[in-house]
Symmetry: D3
Subunit: 336 residues, 6 copies
């Protein structure tokens, strides 16, 4: 089979014959009424998922292929009970690295390197040299940078795609920057821009360790047992201790901003906000993730009429806006 | 007694002898162990409250003076159980109108006419002519304008002073304006600036009828039994019906933005947000009122040490910022 | 095909061949393993629902027929996986109006005109002329009367059938009438029969606008975004303003009775009851709807043994009464 | 001192000199600044409570008098910090039984013997002979009858006065009787009048053992550790076992009606209602106790204006009705 | 068919032909596309459950066999959609008593007679003769003993197998015995070993009446409507009344320990713990049932990786221990 | 004044004249009616608190003495409004260190060095060498040891006295040791004694940094903003990293045991228990602290009758045990 061209999952139409490359999400061996074995698979790339069924050499292929492997498939698309299903005619496991992984995993619509450099530029403007050093040193660490360029912001709720964490972090920081200007005009230096932006950068940073996200997104062992609040604290604590004369006061503030960012104990924060900055960071994080969740949901809704289906997280339908949400371009908001 | 000069309550120091004008908040007649009657009063002006005790002609003065009257007092300040207390030497009820009421009621630090004109200017920028007409027509109604220039935003929590509703409304609208720019850059016209600003203007407008606020702030009968969500809806509904060809769709949106602005049923909203704009308005309203509440609380806290006393609403102490919050100037944020 | 006679869904038995008229609830086009298209439909009338499958001319019929259309079907009843299923031999869309809609939608067992006249008679007995005028004028408005004769009391919980709102309203009013006699005997005029009956009539009246109920029951756009509390308020407010000299006090009372009838904020009331009458109306509304829900559920339960299956709303099974609930007759309770 | 005449507490006015008999609610020995001992007491009768202070022979009287003793007092009424206070000139403990206790304990306004005979008459109408026997035999037991004629319905919330349990029980039963007629007309024998009335009689009967109520009302040891749900069950279980051939089914029903009458686990019911009758009994019990609580509260409210003070249980103020609630007459509702 | 030998459900492998005896859990008659009737059954024994399908004589067998019957089956094991399924070739209902029931119902891994005698021995060590008599007399009653040897501790959560109640009760009592030693060393006789062990024995004893458990486990009518708290109280109350001079104090304590053992009202306890012993019994009951639930769940989990699937009761996955839990031996802990 | 002898606060009786040393808890300057200044103080030592009033040289003493200073006082005990009050005749601030602080702060009844060595001995028995090393190395760190010998377990709830943390930790570890034996007998090595004891030692260890406890107990800044969950994690993480080859797996387990020990998010744990050991540690910590709280409360209750006053934390009264709790001896449970 050729490995040169492949259609995307979203492009597969009924009755189409094709050949292409996919990530195996699930693979199971079954037997039909007559005792003949067949494979059921779910194949995915960044545009969606599709079922596939293999009859020929099912047993042998089933021994070779595991979830999260890459696979090359030739087949035809049928409609079965209203859903598309690939009837596989030939299939073979692909060698690792033969196709770049970012073909298979959904990703942010924005250029992650641009998002990163925008974020870096924003933190270069912090007034306090220690706060500035803490932020820049952290995101410049090669392992942190490598992870932050790929991490999603969540397993399945908001910004749940490669680069989603970076997209969310930058969006939150920009909103906080606007609020800093706004509230300093009202209340003076009782509201600190530096602390707001520290909170914006660090509140979710522990997610680079909480989630395994190379192929699909799963909680890591540390993620499940320790969680991104504490993992983020540990990272910030370590980097701060590597900066000479780093003030205790600022280190405690930074950790508090992380620990309190879910706002309430029952949402997993071991501390409620005890500073006005921690409260604001909580609100903006919550708002930005909810806006993304809702607009994603509206964008994917297929229900007829003026309302979407009931969203399970929000336990309600949403009224659809006149214009569907679109998610594209390099790094929005940069020049505004 | 002279009625020309008066010190403010905040200026009264121990052992000081003075003469001045105050609003009577509470007045009660008591009898001492020897059967001698005396009056206990709480006097207030916009800078604070102070206790006062009258021994001479207590019975007679007690017959004349009622809560919310204005009174002229000559006396001396003592310290009693750690608190200041005025021993009254002479007192007389003042005729209505002899002193402007705004001396006695705490008010926003900002110029309400400037706040109003800034708000008016902001709504002149709405894109949809019906949305623009609805907003401007509403705040230009003489009775609405008169009330909005004086109404507090709440009885006792946030922005609880004359002009507080206007201050809060403008602050919310400015933040929403910033968020509109931000999210339109990300998601396009699926997020509507017009709806966000409609929600900013109208979410609390029912409070001009919910509260009686000429002297002190109390719930009106309609406020107690119907509430500002529905009172606001009724106002908007009426004005919209007076605009020819006003679209149903927009009228429903405006009412939904009001009804849903507390975000959850248990906070008094009869509807949860079903649009992304209603959700954003809820967050910004909530955030802006909490920021004001906390900074007010910090500004008034008297506890020694790095933390304030426990705030009853938030059930926690707050870490004091390095710089105390200050609240002054005309209309902040205008030129930024 | 003849259009004269039709069996009801409840009458269709296994192996029966028949011809009849139904409302199409759901229609979907599928393809079988061999690529042959077929239609899956759910047909309904007021006695129940049944699945149907069309093989001949499936594509063509699928292009013609939409959900909520009326359809004429000839076919045979099979048993498939324990459920009845119609194998359709011939089918055609029916012209609008060829069969009265009330054949297809479940309805109250009682005569709605009798329920209406009983309700009208009850409100003629109100003592206060303004209260009496408000009630009678409202239900005599032609659009209100037309809607109230058909509206269900809910989408899927209690009294969820045509005329259910009227049946529930009358039942609530009669119970309130009894409680008025009872409590006036105990506490005198501190309990007002007029207010209780006002609350009985108006508490759910907003549902005539909240729900679209001509064929099936769905939330209207105003229903989803504004809700029957506020829609009811607006109706009462408008009618009251059309009655000369209508007292403010009574108008506020009527609106409070509507707004508070869910009893708690978390159940969607923007105000909790602040009068004893509002509290009583809440209890009786809640009780009457729960009694109807439970007895309906018991009447339809098919589980063997002394207990029903677990009811999802109540999260519990119910003990079945010795006698099954029956729902019939003209307007019960009239002469008792 | 004479023991013939005594004013009631409610009749004591400032500066009045009097002699009278009271129940001692609290008694405490203190010492003034000069080391002179004095007694502080709270005296009560069924009309209210008043503070009293004894200077002469305070030590000796303090040794003699205990809480819940009867005392004869001569003294004068002063006003102290806005409250009435008796300055005692002479005082002596009274022998037990010298004055009937019902002078000192607040009681129902109705004739308890009439309430009892009305209740008895109502239960004579039950259709099922076992249900009838169970009810009549229980309330005819001399100890039960003696207790039920005096028991309050609660320690401090609703019907918290001698005879209150009987008053509440009869009121609940009458409402249930009305609902039985109503719902049988709608749903037939699926709703059982006998079970409703059984629930009305027995739901709170355990309170005759849960509370000690001869002087003041306190929880008994069994009341505190076992509670009126289970104590009521045990009484009904015992009496039912003494009736030959009493059916198990009915015994279980009766106990379920008692155990489920608080409606939810978190309100102390170990079982939620699993029959429609248990649900109705819960609603009527809850409604009747809340109506009594609110009207009592309104009747005693002293706040100026249209609203009462905030009620702590309901966490809200109530709008006062035009006519104050009155509580009097023999047994209301009998002939209606 | 022979009735001599039978494989266990857990031993049935794909393609195996066998003959054996099973308990029928569910039986349903269906019809295939061609109108041919067939039976779907779920067969069980103590090692698990398996589906079975009967084609020959399906109608006749369907008339004979009911859920909870014993059945003799000859057939072959197929794999259908990844699950084992028996294709039945011949089947016949078995006479009652032909095979001991304990073959079919899952049971504790421990010897119930040994558990019973250990429990008996433990209660022989109580210090107070009345407490000792109450415990021993209760568990020696033939009907109680017979039931306690077979009862599960719950319908579906913890220790949900024959003998589970006894296993749980003994485990709780042993832990309480250890805690009694521990806390008496700290706090002296303010903590009573006798009360702790009374609570350990009696807290769940009502379950012998709450559940029907001969074949499968269902709530009894008394269980559903009255519950094991009150049923346990009634048993203890009755036995205590049969012991001459049994002290009231101890009887109330025993009943309180039962009623309060769920710790909170919302968990079904009509009383919260008012003694330190009742609190400790609640904690140990809760802990022991949760430990059993979790380890059972881990033992049965089939998910790959370090974590189990999400447990529905706990709403979380568990980290698997290095060593899988094993449940075997006579009565553990006896000689330690 | 002599500094040699001092009575304890608990020994001060009415009319006693004395001289002694105390810790100043609160000090305030007031003025009497005649303008004469006086000091109000609350003095404390480990046996309790007493009010004191200073008239002579009040101003001067007020300038010298601050809260938490030591003071030497000569005076006399009066009874004022039923409470003891010291009238101070002479007073002087004492030099730091002139009296050991443990005279002034309430402390555990047990010998803290014995508690420490018992704890050390227990951890020497851990099976896994890394687990053993982690525990011993941590408690042997001089700063940790110094703090753990003095820290209370809480600010005001359970074990709220010097050494209370150590007392609680040892009690929890002993109970866990018993449960380890118990459950290993039932379930084998699926339950790990090492992990249980790790959890016992470390669950509250962060409190040595969360609280400032040299004189009185207050939250430290890190305690208020970061909390003992995360502070404990950081300590364990640091010590583990100092042990060569310390396994990641064990480090994660130890941190999870700390983070999950409050059992639920809403109680401040950022993670719920995901291992059976974490669940058991949570239960035992919770149980041990509640037992201590209740018995302390019962020991100090002064209410007449069989029940205590209502405990605010538990919102209920407790039945008093026949024998009052006593708290004494060296380290209980050692030899049992």
């Amino acid at each position: 089979m050729s490995t040169i061209y492949s259609p995307f999952v979203a492009e597969l139409k009924e009755k189409m014959e094709f050949e292409g490359s996919f990530l195996v999400k699930i693979v199971q061996l079954h037997m039909d009424k007559n005792g003949r074995p067949y494979l059921n698979m779910i194949l995915m790339d960044k545009t969606g998922e599709i079922e596939a069924r293999v009859w020929d050499n099912a047993q042998k292929l089933g021994d070779e292929v595991r979830a999260q492997d890459l696979i090359r498939v030739a087949g035809k698309v049928n409609l079965y009970q209203g859903r598309r299903q690939v009837v596989v005619e030939a299939a073979a496991k692909m060698p690792e690295g033969s196709v770049p992984l970012d073909r298979f995993v959904p990703a942010t619509a924005y250029d992650v390197n641009r998002l990163y450099s925008d974020l870096h530029a924003l933190f270069s403007t912090l007034a306090d040299p220690f706060a500035r050093a803490l932020c820049l040193k952290t995101i410049e660490e090669p392992d942190v940078k490598r992870r932050i360029l790929r991490a999603p912001a969540a397993k399945s709720v908001h910004h749940a795609y490669a680069g989603g964490l970076l997209e969310h972090t930058l969006s939150v920081c920009r909103i906080l920057d606007g609020l800093a200007k706004h509230y300093v005009a009202y209340y003076g230096p009782a509201v600190s821009r530096d602390l707001l932006l520290l909170g914006g950068l660090f509140h979710d940073i522990g997610k680079i360790y909480e989630l395994n996200f190379e192929r699909g997104t799963e909680y890591s062992k540390e993620g499940q047992l320790i969680g991104h609040h504490v993992l983020g604290c540990e990272l910030v604590d370590r980097v701060a201790r590597e900066i000479p004369d780093f003030p205790d006061e600022l280190r405690i503030h930074a950790k508090h901003l992380i620990l309190a960012h879910h706002g309430r104990l029952e949402y997993g924060s071991p501390k409620v906000p005890h500073t006005v900055e921690a409260l604001i960071v909580h609100y903006v994080d919550d708002l930005d993730s909810k806006v993304n969740t809702i607009l994603d949901f509206i964008g994917e809704d297929k229900q007829a009429g003026e309302f979407t289906a009931v969203n399970r997280l929000f336990e309600r339908p949403f009224l659809k806006p006149k214009a569907a949400p679109n998610f594209q371009g390099p790094s929005p908001g940069v020049d505004s």
